[in-house]
Symmetry: C3
Subunit: 427 residues, 3 copies
């Protein structure tokens, strides 16, 4: 239920496109810090928003993100020598530092100053929360580094993975911010949400009322999404999640379990990275919690070692087990909450034609999110800065709680949603 034009605007993030320009106003997760383990280690190919780039960590430990192709004769710098504070093309020895300056050009006569005239495209990088962030927009608009809770807690409190998905970023994001699907897609005690310890109460609520009432509201961070499920005559189980500009979503924990979230970052228009965050605000993650996520039972997926490819994937129908599905112990027959999401997100066309869909009241959050992104795009074209650029608006938490009829969600959740030193234990 979008026009074809709006769908194009929403899904196309190549350089020079309206959405591409909007996204380039934010710090962007470019790769995991652990992918560049130590100084002068092998570089990594990175594609972001349609741009082919190369990331490397220099001798001083600083990360550079530059054009993959040497400006000289346009061969790949991937095969380059990462040494002495710069990456050196193996073809003719041209060398570039993390800022893109050509610092050596040994194929030219010593007196030549041609190297001073050559610069490679480079984007500034910073590290926080296990992520190498980059900023690909106009230098004069570069904001402070993000301060989302997951990125600010100690390393022991956090688990972050990156996987690639074979679909446009927005249909992955739509899955993330969609509170209604939880009652269906992830139902079951094998590989579904029921697998999580201490979630029995919440799961009971989720099963009981599959048609939640939604309250969505545009805020300074993006969209506040509240889904209320009746639990008795005058009370509801309320899950408050957020769409944080430009591509984040957060989900509330079950009980004292860790919190979760995602960033859906365009690789190009037909592929995206799904960064997945599991963290606890006030304590380290337990071995058991880490094992569960690494196994792919939770919102992370099991990866083919050394890659960002998932073991369960579109080629193998996510290793779906039809007998398990028929048994009812899993709604999908697919093991893993994160892979269940990926399966439906990737199962349509690479870029869904939203002029053909049929939205219901359960899609309220999605409608709000699209509208916000499209409006922000258009406003930026008229010079208006987008929201959630500044760290203060990013310090939010998803929560779930029991509310009474008549409660104002916004009022009830106001304090709980703020990141503080204490955490709120959900029902």
């Amino acid at each position: 239920m979008l026009s074809v034009e709006d769908n194009n605007m929403l899904t196309n993030t190549d350089p020079g496109t309206p959405m591409g320009e909007l996204f380039r106003r934010y710090w962007i997760p470019a790769l995991l810090s652990e992918e560049l383990l130590k100084p002068d280690c092998p570089p990594i190919r990175v594609k972001l928003l349609g741009e082919e780039l190369l990331a490397f960590r220099d001798t001083n430990g600083k990360v550079g993100l530059i054009d993959e192709y040497c400006p000289h004769r346009l061969v790949s710098l991937y095969f380059g020598r990462n040494e002495e504070c710069g990456i050196r093309c193996v073809y003719h020895g041209w060398k570039f530092d993390v800022e893109g300056f050509c610092v050596d050009m040994p194929s030219e006569p010593p007196k030549s100053n041609f190297k001073d005239a050559v610069k490679i495209k480079s984007y500034p990088c910073e590290e926080r929360g296990g992520i190498v962030w980059t900023y690909m927009g106009p230098p004069e608009h570069k904001p402070p580094l993000p301060e989302m809770e997951w990125a600010m807690v100690p390393e022991s409190h956090r688990f972050v993975t990156k996987r690639s998905q074979v679909c446009n970023y927005f249909q992955a994001l739509e899955g993330g911010i969609d509170p209604a699907h939880v009652s269906f897609l992830h139902r079951g005690d094998i590989g579904g949400i029921g697998f999580s310890e201490g979630s029995s109460k919440s799961e009971e609520y989720l099963k009981k009322d599959t048609a939640p009432v939604f309250e969505c509201e545009e805020t300074d961070f993006g969209v506040l999404i509240a889904a209320k499920r009746k639990i008795d005559k005058d009370q509801s189980y309320c899950r408050i999640t957020q769409f944080l500009m430009p591509w984040y979503n957060f989900v509330p924990p079950f009980g004292d379990a860790p919190r979760g979230g995602h960033a859906f970052v365009p690789i190009d228009n037909e592929n995206c990275y799904n960064y997945t965050f599991t963290w606890h605000a006030t304590r380290p993650l337990t071995e058991e919690e880490l094992e569960r996520e690494k196994s792919g039972a939770g919102i992370h997926a099991k990866l083919i070692p050394g890659t960002s490819l998932t073991v369960q994937n579109k080629e193998n129908d996510y290793m779906m087990d039809r007998e398990l599905q028929a048994s009812g112990r899993s709604y999908t027959g697919i093991i893993g909450v994160g892979i269940e999401d990926q399966a439906v997100q990737e199962s349509g066309k690479r870029i869904i034609d939203r002029s053909k869909e049929r939205l219901g009241s359960s899609d309220t959050a999605i409608i709000h999110t699209r509208r916000l992104l499209l409006n922000t795009c258009r406003a930026l074209q008229n010079g208006k800065a987008p929201k959630a650029i500044q760290p203060e608006s990013q310090r939010i938490r998803a929560v779930s709680l029991v509310v009474k009829d008549g409660d104002s969600i916004k009022e009830v959740a106001k304090d709980l949603m703020q990141v503080t030193e204490k955490d709120f234990i959900a029902p």
Copy 2:
């Protein structure tokens, strides 16, 4: 020797194209009944005439053929739960019955009547002869179910397979209706037609005269194709085959061996299904006959288990054996009559440019068939119904017999071609 325009019309069967509309006036083989073995079994992805569909067998055993994508948010229903007379999308639980009605929408409030406004594309299905047939055309034009002989004999008398080919349906069909190639492509006692028991006489005839005289005639079923090969001064061995509208061909048996036939059904413009039928009019197939066909020695091909892909295929050059070819015991070095056909049909471009070919008198049947299809297409655009829509015109048999010079083929074959309770034993 077709214009580029006519070639396009002949080969393009997407929705809205002239040939696509013509084909949608016929019952179409959609899949094998055995692919949906029992009620509530896993659904099957089916692509037909460029449309991506999903087939499932409901709790009552009825087969449904619906759009692969849920109208809600356009994710694939392939991962859906097939239960209680409908398939249920795992994303939000929307459920559709075999007629395409949305029968449950648990993500919307109980009082909502949104589900009554949502219907998924669905095509009626019927089963006969081991095939699930579908009708994708205007409901008011839906004809009775086909009554070809192979579909009407008892199950014990019939063997049916389905395989996919990587070429446009029409070049596969051209191979099927081409009587001239039999003297070449399938020559040899290894893997060729000589492999069949009791065929020695016929094979001798086929080798002896490689330039048959053709008599083709447009009939009420399609095109009658007679190929006469001289066997002595005043007699000919005559093989009468048929092109039955819109994509069937039948071939006569050797002696008391089973009969054969094909349906070439477009998947999309660059792929087709080759349905292959082996049947005997008056007796069950023997173990030996079944084994031969399953092994790929005959007109069927050996399949990769659980798929419609052939073991011998374009990627592996059909496992051609050059030494066997050089020995002369096989004309091609490719084992299997059906795979020999597939090899040449797939060996050109995916869609052959018929404006560049050089047709001879041996292509008479092909020329007649193209003309009939193109004329029928144009007539349909002017409101004229196509032929062979009604069952009575489909009750035909291919035959081979010895004729005298001067015999009118049409007269001689008239009765033999009619399906009756008795069968005719070919020389």
Copy 3:
């Protein structure tokens, strides 16, 4: 630093394009003689300059190069029977000889003369130097067969291989004629040029001065390329290589080692064949020299048996070893001079956009070569014959020598570059 238009002209060699027409004025390496080992052996698919062809050796040992597709119904002749002086289509038995005449058409009546009206596209072939050469241009312009030294020496003096590369021919050629990259890409004693016996002196020179001074000049054969590296106050080590029209390059030997050269022949615009020649002017190659080249340590690459695909390739990042690279014993971590070249040549886009590159003085040879090819193209459009069509201009050698400041390279090299009975031992 080419306009987009010039880049297109340079890289597009399809039939009817300016560069395609230019290249069709030369004898073209079509395949290795050894690929068609004996009379009536299996045919080989060959794609050249965008044309899909089939090569076969007939009963008399003569090689034919014809359209891959039978003109009758456009199926591939690859599956054909190569017998009795012609290749016979397995579909209907049409048979073509090496000159493209249809010599048998058994599917037509004996009295038919249709076969006389049918001819298949065919290009004349000759063999020399282990190569099957073809001429694809206007018959009236067919020149004498090439007489390059490598093609004229006895078989024992020569080693020739063919491999396919996944890039446009011109970026492979640019690598071949680029004297500057030798100081970088191939540096190192593992798998680099240092691996060659007796090359220590030259390698020392190459390392010492990485910014050679270039002297390039257009000649009757193409471009003479001289790269001078200072070795002391008033002397230089000078490597003289050639670009021989239309796609050859030659490199000088180290000491008495064999000479080397390449031909970069377009398969289509995104793929090319790299023919590599190793030969000695005056003696057979030694076992050791042959072993080294077959192993892929030198300018040839190790091939997947029975194919022209390299074991180290783009899919596996050329089996690059990052630790070896970091050790400095190899500049690239990729084993093999030839594969190092292939790696950089293939590492950019399939067709590099030369409007975006930044050329330096080290690219002088490349600039001259582009200019010559583009000018020759334009001149041919105005009816002017290209150069190096005649054998006398092809009898040239690459050399390296020590020159004094002030020496005229052209004068010094004049005699050394001529192919004579004696050879010159480089420093």
